[in-house]
């Protein structure tokens, strides 16, 4: 169940005739990260030449039989556990029958009545700081179809079966989402969890993660409206656009006295609009029945426990640790856990040193520089160890924060270690009180008139002396010590 408050008006949409509530449910197809397909030994590698990764089973040659890939089953269980969902120890593969040129068997092997994973949930966080729990209805395993290519020949379609039989997890949410923003946060969070688990690479451009979005509108508190399903959205932007378009379209129709047809719609990426793909009357009768080539899939409690014991730490848990144990702000923790790689970089960079300081340097300086240079974190010229070493040099007073910024810029430019840059350029902070006293003495000697003015009551000149001393030191004098010693000498 959603924690959505019925009286919360923040997500309601204003129509011509009043407020509308948006109800969204999502079906996400996530390609299972595995070497081989769900029921054959063929490779799942993306980008191979057409029809290179096709076995006799994938091409549905006569007499070929599916054999379940245990790795894909483990990945589905792992995902189920990551979604805090119940694992069904017995699940059944069904045949979903329909004819299409890129579906060689004439049926897709899927799970209909008894999926491998039951109810679970995902917590999403929004920009306004609110969190919402989105229910997961089920997760099931199924085969992907091949790909039809209509642009290779003037009158014929070509078929690429490389994807035919690749394992997908269909993850079905409850209709708990109330806005396009929530839907976007949901898919991002789901993607993040899958990537932390290592069960899907989350690559939306390559089609590893795509969503069907069910949208309906209703007057707040009333019965659910008729929904439409917009299929195959493969970016957060498209999901948001499609939902917003659907919401406006549906509200306009109803407000003008019309009714919504329950139908399947297609999203046009060039216009950001949706259009009818097929109506309810054209819906397929898939004639689901248990696949007689496969026995029911039975898992032991032991196997599930083993997978559970080996689960990696998930973003919600890491965030809790970062705000609790490390004392980071919610914002920093959120930024640092969004991507698995970011969290790993941060953990490595901050281990054994000032966690907050490291977080600042990473989220402000490093991300800023990467952003400016249009680089990903994994191509960062500064390694986690190097960033950590820089933080150490700040913490132990070797360099000041201001000098550190110059050192950082140099590190980013050259990939050199902070210590080497400091050594080469002689940037080490002077914290030797004798050396600072000598500097101060020479500055006071050279400005005896100003010393007299100061001592005569012109307090404002203190800043002048600090500036002169820092200038003489080339910026390397420890500013706190300069302040302290200078005051003693001037006032003393």
């Amino acid at each position: 169940m959603s924690t959505q408050d019925m009286t919360d008006n923040t997500n309601l949409v204003q129509g011509e005739t009043g407020l509308w509530e948006v109800v969204i449910g999502m079906e996400v197809h996530a390609q299972v990260l595995s070497e081989a397909k769900l029921f054959s030994g063929s490779s799942t590698r993306f980008g191979a030449e057409p029809n290179q990764n096709v076995s006799l089973v994938d091409a549905a040659m006569p007499g070929m039989l599916p054999v379940i890939n245990a790795e894909c089953v483990r990945q589905a269980v792992k995902t189920g556990l990551g979604l805090k969902a119940e694992i069904n120890l017995t699940s059944v593969f069904d045949r979903k029958n329909y004819f299409y040129a890129d579906l060689p068997q004439g049926y897709q092997i899927s799970q209909f009545k008894q999926p491998i994973v039951g109810e679970g949930s995902i917590t999403i966080s929004l920009k306004d700081g609110s969190t919402h729990e989105i229910g997961i209805e089920r997760l099931h395993l199924e085969q992907d179809a091949g790909k039809s290519m209509h642009d290779q020949h003037p009158s014929k379609s070509y078929i690429d079966l490389n994807r035919s039989g690749v394992a997908l997890m269909e993850i079905v949410s409850r209709p708990d989402l109330r806005s396009a923003e929530q839907a976007g946060a949901y898919i991002k969070k789901l993607r993040s969890i899958l990537r932390y688990l290592g069960t899907c690479d989350g690559n939306m451009e390559e089609g590893s993660l795509r969503a069907d979005v069910n949208v309906s509108v209703r007057r707040p508190g009333e019965e659910l409206g008729t929904r439409t399903e917009t299929k195959n959205l493969n970016s957060v932007r498209f999901i948001t656009q499609a939902i917003n378009y659907e919401v406006q379209r549906q509200i306009e129709i109803i407000e003008e006295g019309g009714t919504i047809d329950q139908e399947t719609r297609l999203f046009d990426t060039s216009t950001g609009t949706t259009r009818t793909m097929r109506g309810k009357e054209d819906a397929h009768d898939y004639r689901y029945f248990p696949d007689p080539d496969l026995l029911p899939l039975v898992l032991s409690e032991e196997v599930v426990s083993e997978i559970e014991a080996a689960l990696p730490e998930l973003p919600d848990e890491i965030r809790a640790r970062m705000t609790g144990e490390y004392g980071l702000s919610d914002y920093d923790a959120a930024v640092l856990t969004e991507e698995k790689e970011t969290a790993a970089f941060y953990e490595a960079a901050s281990a054994g040193r000032d966690r907050k300081l490291t977080a600042n340097w990473m989220s402000v300086e490093l991300f800023g520089a990467l952003n400016k240079a249009s680089l990903d974190l994994d191509s960062s010229p500064i390694s986690p160890d190097q960033l950590g070493a820089l933080v150490d040099l700040i913490s132990d007073g070797t360099i000041s924060g201001r000098i550190a910024k110059d050192v950082f810029a140099d590190m980013f430019e050259t990939g050199k270690a902070a210590a080497d840059i400091i050594e080469e350029k002689g940037l080490k902070q002077v914290s030797d009180s004798g050396a600072i006293e000598t500097l101060i003495d020479s500055v006071m000697q050279a400005n005896e008139d100003k010393v007299a003015e100061y001592r005569g009551g012109k307090d404002k000149l203190f800043g002048f002396f600090v500036g002169q001393v820092m200038k003489q030191s080339g910026g390397q004098a420890n500013p706190a010590m300069v302040n302290q010693i200078l005051r003693q000498k001037l006032d003393g």
Binding site: P62, L65, V67, G106, Y107, I159, D285, R287, P292, D293
Partner: protein, 494 residues
């Protein structure tokens, strides 16, 4: 050797071992018999040169002392088994021109054991039929048909296999049994046909009809050959998820054991209206033979037997409607493309490629799985199937094996049952329950009808108890002393 065609597989193996005959000699005899009996239409593809190559290789292995259990034995292969480099059509126009690049698990086992492939054998289209009449190659003819009378059905779906083994154009042959497709034609042709426990023989590489019912098995002239061939065909296969990893019992010992002390169940439900009285008489005769051999007869009830046929004719077509979806003209086989849409190409290809009986079953199956009908038909049939299984489970707590007639009638005239599919379906009334329950069954030739046509008795046992099957079958065979001498067999067999 002049009587070379009369040797059983067990005898031929001995003769090969003792160098009394060579594999090449044996194969040549069968090639001659294939030629002589071609009018029976048992073969749809003859592979003589391949056979002679394989026979030469067998002779080499025999000389080297590396002979397998079926070394040099000529084998006919039902056209439902995919054979590497040899056209495999399931006797359907839709698969004409399809030559697999792979060999089915079962035939591969046979070649590993030393078997020699003679060719591909006729059957009903996609194994759907009881008279081999739905074959795109026309029916196989029962060699027991009189020289001047009408052609009789060899049974089906494995009609060609039965016709071939009983006429001497193969020594042993493979079959598949979905609702009786091995046992019924074996009974009609006077030979031994055996359906193993579901999961005993891998289905990998066999063109699927109804996946939860299909099971490969042997056609042979006697019970000992049946055991020999089954041992070679069977085996666990990881490529078939329904293949069972259960060791085969010692069949040779079973055939020596006799039936003394065995309890044989006689089900009261295996009687139907219009049954040939000779069959009832033979059944009683079979009971006396077993009793005389020391078995105890036990009357049992299999109360859901009468629902078996309707249940089968929901489940088998339902699975078939889905299994046959892959024959769409896109990747292999025949395609009819008149330049229209994809759907039009499907329709044209499948309309031209499938015969009437296959279309009928696809439509029945599609209907039975449709939204709104699934619960009333498919789901109900699955529940009935469970009851039939339970009937057998209960029976096998009381008895070791069950004796029934194999078919309700002897071989019938080709063409006469074509207009009424239901009459044809009734042929399988005694064989279908074993498929639904997954249990093993055998048909043993045991007597003749008034017209002098062969009749068979069926022995059923619990799952994976093939030893019980062969124990009882061997006893029946010895008591019946059935003579295989069909009129239209090859001269060397008569």
């Amino acid at each position: 050797m002049s009587d070379i065609l009369k040797l059983t597989a067990v005898e031929a193996r001995k003769a090969l071992d003792s160098k009394a005959i060579s594999a090449t000699e044996l194969t040549n005899a069968y090639i001659g018999a294939m030629d002589e009996t071609r009018g029976l239409n048992a073969y749809v593809a003859e592979t003589q040169s391949k056979a002679l190559e394989m026979a030469a290789a067998s002779d080499k292995r025999l000389a080297e002392g590396k002979a397998g259990p079926l070394e040099g034995i000529p084998v006919g292969v039902k056209d439902l088994f995919c054979t590497k480099g040899v056209e495999t059509t399931a006797c359907s126009n839709i698969l004409k021109g399809f030559t697999p690049t792979y060999e089915s698990f079962v035939t591969n086992q046979l070649w590993d054991a030393g078997g020699v492939m003679l060719g591909k054998i006729n059957c009903d289209e996609f194994a759907m039929g009881s008279a081999n009449e739905t074959s795109a190659f026309g029916p196989a003819i029962n060699p027991w048909s009189s020289e001047d009378g009408p052609d009789l059905a060899a049974g089906g779906s494995s009609g060609g296999s039965a016709a071939s083994v009983s006429s001497g154009s193969s020594l042993i042959a493979t079959g598949t049994d979905t609702g009786g497709s091995i046992r019924q034609p074996a009974a009609l042709c006077g030979i031994v046909g055996m359906k193993p426990t579901y999961g005993r023989c891998s289905r990998w590489g066999i063109v699927a009809f109804a996946s939860s019912l299909d099971q490969a098995g042997p056609f042979t002239r006697d019970v000992a050959d049946s055991a020999l061939m089954l041992e070679a065909m069977a085996g666990h296969d990881k490529m078939d998820s329904t293949s069972a990893d259960v060791a085969m019992p010692d069949l040779q010992a079973a055939m020596q054991a006799g039936v003394k002390g065995l309890k044989i169940g006689i089900p009261s439900e295996y009687v139907m209206d219009g049954m040939d009285p000779a069959i009832l008489k033979l059944w009683e005769q079979g009971q006396s033979w077993l009793k005389d051999a020391g078995a105890e007869l036990v009357e049992i009830s299999l109360p859901h037997t009468k629902y078996a046929l309707p249940c089968y004719y929901i489940i088998a077509p339902a699975e078939a409607s889905s299994n046959l979806a892959r024959y769409d003209g896109v990747r292999y086989g025949s395609r009819v493309d008149e330049g229209g849409s994809l759907d039009e190409m499907y329709a044209a290809t499948r309309s031209a490629g499938f015969g009437d009986e296959v279309k009928r079953r696809i439509m029945i199956g599609t209907y039975a799985l449709s939204a709104g009908y699934y619960d009333a038909y498919y789901l109900k049939a699955q529940q009935v199937r469970q009851l039939i299984k339970t009937d057998f489970d209960n029976a096998f707590t009381q008895v070791d094996a069950i004796l029934t007639p194999a078919t309700p009638s002897a071989a019938f005239e080709l063409g006469v049952k074509q207009d009424d599919p239901v009459t044809m379906y009734l042929n399988d009334v005694f064989t279908v329950p074993a498929n639904l329950a997954g249990i093993p069954g055998i048909s043993v030739p045991a007597g003749l009808s008034e017209a002098g046509l062969p009749l068979g008795l069926q022995v059923l046992a619990g799952s994976f108890r093939e030893d019980r099957i062969y124990q009882v079958a061997k006893t029946l065979e010895e008591a019946a002393a059935f003579q295989l001498n069909p009129v239209r067999a090859a001269g060397g067999l008569r």
